[in-house]
């Protein structure tokens, strides 16, 4: 794949390629072009609408970061040749578990989070186990879990608390060390300094008068960046990364050359569930509660981000950086259309057009440049 080591150019098994060509066949090329196009478009149409003031930037950054967190998991899983349609339901389910453990059962929040992560990744493993054991398409298996998990996310709070939104997590999480890793904000001093210098807007009234409207970098964004970096390094710099590509490319050939395909796939299902739980935890901590309808349709949004980012639906090809750019494009478009003043019911039309355009562009670029048919 992309790790062609040019220092071994004398090796007859390795084809030499120019640096330019090397750069052009990277899967994230479409993502880079798309990102530039989208930003240029919104600078023209919505440049003075508040989209690029501090609040506006924070707004679409957070949306993009959400997409990024689930896209990293979905991307690696898709490269390994499988789908996970239960991501959205997992977000609702995991969030609800945290709320039930911490508010209803009164556990310390750090314990609630850890147990939830354990349960979620175990469900991810179960997903993967069923897929590799039965040989059924992951599309079907995870579709089943889409309904199972959503059902529990509604049933549990209904039975236990007679309501479908459990609040009060914010109070329970007060001073909790692990909760701060998901719901806190860092660099608050830096942002205050920005505000004091008049570089970003400050509150005009109320108890927070004088404080910057953007008080810090949310942990949601930190998690997104962290997961993208970890995912990228694992995929491109490690042997395990090659196994992921191999498992998704041709599982049989990979097995014959000693790649533990089943283990790789199960691990990727667990990682996807992990990412969904990170999303859920950040959301629960930020909004102070869990709702049964959280994460609806998020599985498709993750897949959209990954596909815009240049990954192949058939597996074996793609990049985490591409998926991250796909998430950025998706977030910027979704929020930017609002700032551009587009009628809200039409935003999905644009989103659909952009998805279609991105996929066609990606395929076209790849074919032209790699010469594949």
């Amino acid at each position: 794949m992309s790790d062609a080591p040019t220092q071994f150019a004398e090796d007859e098994r390795i084809k030499t390629r120019s640096k330019f060509r090397e750069a052009m066949i990277r899967p994230e090329l479409g993502g880079i072009i798309g990102t530039i196009t989208v930003f240029a478009m919104f600078l023209i149409f919505a440049g003075d609408s508040g989209m690029f003031n501090s609040q506006g930037v924070m707004n679409w950054s957070q949306i993009s970061a959400q997409f990024m967190i689930i896209a990293v998991g979905a991307c690696l899983l898709m490269i390994a040749g499988e789908f996970d349609l239960s991501v959205g339901s997992m977000i609702g389910f995991a969030g609800m578990l945290i709320a039930i453990f911490s508010v209803t059962l009164g556990w310390p929040v750090w314990l609630a989070i850890l147990v939830t992560f354990a349960i979620a990744t175990a469900i991810g493993a179960l997903n993967g186990f069923i897929v590799v054991r039965t040989g059924l398409p992951s599309f079907i298996v995870t579709l089943a879990f889409l309904f199972i998990l959503r059902g529990f996310a509604i049933y549990l709070p209904q039975t236990i608390e007679r309501k479908t939104i459990i609040g009060g997590v914010a109070d329970a999480a007060e001073g909790d060390w692990l909760a701060a890793l998901f719901g806190g904000k860092i660099l608050t001093g830096l942002f205050q300094w920005f505000g004091d210098n008049g570089w970003i807007a400050v509150f005009e009234r109320g108890t927070r008068k004088g404080q910057p409207v953007v008080e810090g970098l949310p942990m949601l964004i930190v998690w997104a960046i962290l997961l993208v970096i970890i995912g990228h390094v694992i995929l491109t710099k490690t042997r395990f990364g090659n196994w992921i590509f191999a498992a998704g490319g041709d599982a049989e050939a990979a097995r014959n050359s000693g790649v533990p395909v089943n283990r790789v796939k199960i691990l990727m299902f667990m990682f996807t569930a992990f990412c969904a739980t990170v999303f859920a935890t950040c959301q629960v901590m930020e909004f102070g509660g869990a709702g049964s309808d959280r994460g609806l349709l998020k599985e498709f949004e993750a897949i959209i981000a990954v596909v815009i980012g240049g990954a192949l639906l058939t597996g074996g090809y793609g990049s985490v950086l591409g998926a991250a750019l796909g998430a950025l494009i998706f977030g910027v478009v979704q929020q930017g259309l609002f700032f551009a003043g587009v009628e809200s019911s039409l935003f999905r039309v644009f989103l659909g057009l952009i998805l279609l355009f991105a996929v066609i562009l990606n395929t076209y670029i790849r074919r032209v440049i790699t010469g594949e048919r």
Binding site: G50, G56, N59, I154
Partner: protein
């Protein structure tokens, strides 16, 4: 080939048109954004859209309607942040979950945007987030009033068809009704989902297994319309006591035919229309009503249906 090309051009033009229009229209005047918690599939909110559009036209201000497509309240919180970032003169928003929405709303108020809470939430919560006022129908009270009315009519047990179970305010309506009747809510509330066929069949199934049910309460056209069909199918139409929240074309027909005993009109038109009028006058002349505005509950029965019928689903 040409026809494909034509279609494509047409699609592009249609898609690009609102962008041009919106850019042209944003040149002058106050700007108000209404944010709701309703998923796209909920038809009741059409009246809200009509109300805010008419108010914008009459007051000559720019208005916008925003909602989370799937009804996800965390998405709604982001929409409020986004609305605030775009620097409007005012935001009109529902407060369907205090935990989730109070933060973004407070931040909007603190950053200098005037906020009016409409539809969901309570007057107390509106005051706490720093909103100018609350315009709407207190949900629990409305449910309670309906329950008292039903009790006077001899109802002892009921089925509450909840098509929006993830919103706490809809559960409050059922709970209020149960408390008004003086019975325990228990299993009398069902999660019907939003699909008409599913709703209809769940109502049929419930009435089949619980034939002694005295009354049905639906929470809006989404659940009322399929319930009407269900009652027609099992022959209980006109026989079972039937009350509903909100009005719509089918509900009005049901009222006229005597199948539905009453509809609780919270007057969504006013919930959208009045905040725009109030905000505009506040920003232009500095005048502001001194209190919250209760748009409902008002019971609509068979009597005096004409105007209601004419504008059901549009302005009523």
């Amino acid at each position: 080939m040409t026809s494909i090309f034509k279609t494509f051009m047409l699609a592009t033009t249609v898609a690009a048109a609102p962008m041009m229009l919106a850019t042209a229209a944003s040149a002058e005047g106050e700007k108000y954004i209404l944010v709701s918690h309703a998923p796209d599939s909920d038809s009741w909110w059409n009246t809200i859209k009509n109300g805010i559009a008419l108010a914008g036209e009459q007051m000559n201000v720019e208005v916008e309607y925003r909602n989370p497509p799937t009804g996800d309240l965390a998405d709604m919180a982001r929409i409020i942040e986004q609305a605030a970032a775009s620097g409007p003169n005012g935001i009109i928003t529902t407060l369907s979950d205090y935990d989730v929405l109070s933060g973004p709303i407070k931040a909007a108020v603190d950053s200098g945007v005037d906020v009016i809470i409409m539809n969901s939430g309570t007057p107390d919560q509106a005051r706490e987030v720093g909103a100018l006022m609350y315009v709407g129908q207190p949900e629990y009270d409305a449910g309670h009033a309906a329950g008292m009315r039903a009790k006077a009519d001899g109802v002892g047990s009921f089925l509450c068809v909840n098509h929006y179970i993830s919103s706490p305010s809809s559960t409050e309506r059922c709970q209020g009704f149960a408390d008004g009747l003086g019975v325990d809510l228990g299993d009398q509330m069902i999660d019907s989902g939003q699909d008409p066929a599913e709703i209809k069949n769940r109502v049929l199934a419930y009435l089949n297994t619980n034939p002694e049910t005295d009354a049905i309460l639906t929470l809006g056209p989404t659940s009322a319309d399929p319930t009407l069909l269900a009652l027609e199918e099992n022959g209980m139409a006109g026989d079972i006591y039937f009350g509903t929240f909100d009005l719509g074309e089918e509900i009005v027909k049901g009222l006229k035919a005597g199948v539905i005993n009453w509809g609780i009109d919270q007057q969504p038109f006013l919930q959208a229309y009045l905040p725009v009028v109030v905000l505009t006058n506040y920003h232009r002349y500095g005048v502001l009503p001194g209190n919250n505005i209760n748009s409902g509950p008002g019971f609509v029965t068979k009597d005096g249906l004409e105007k209601v019928e004419e504008f059901a689903g549009e302005y009523r």
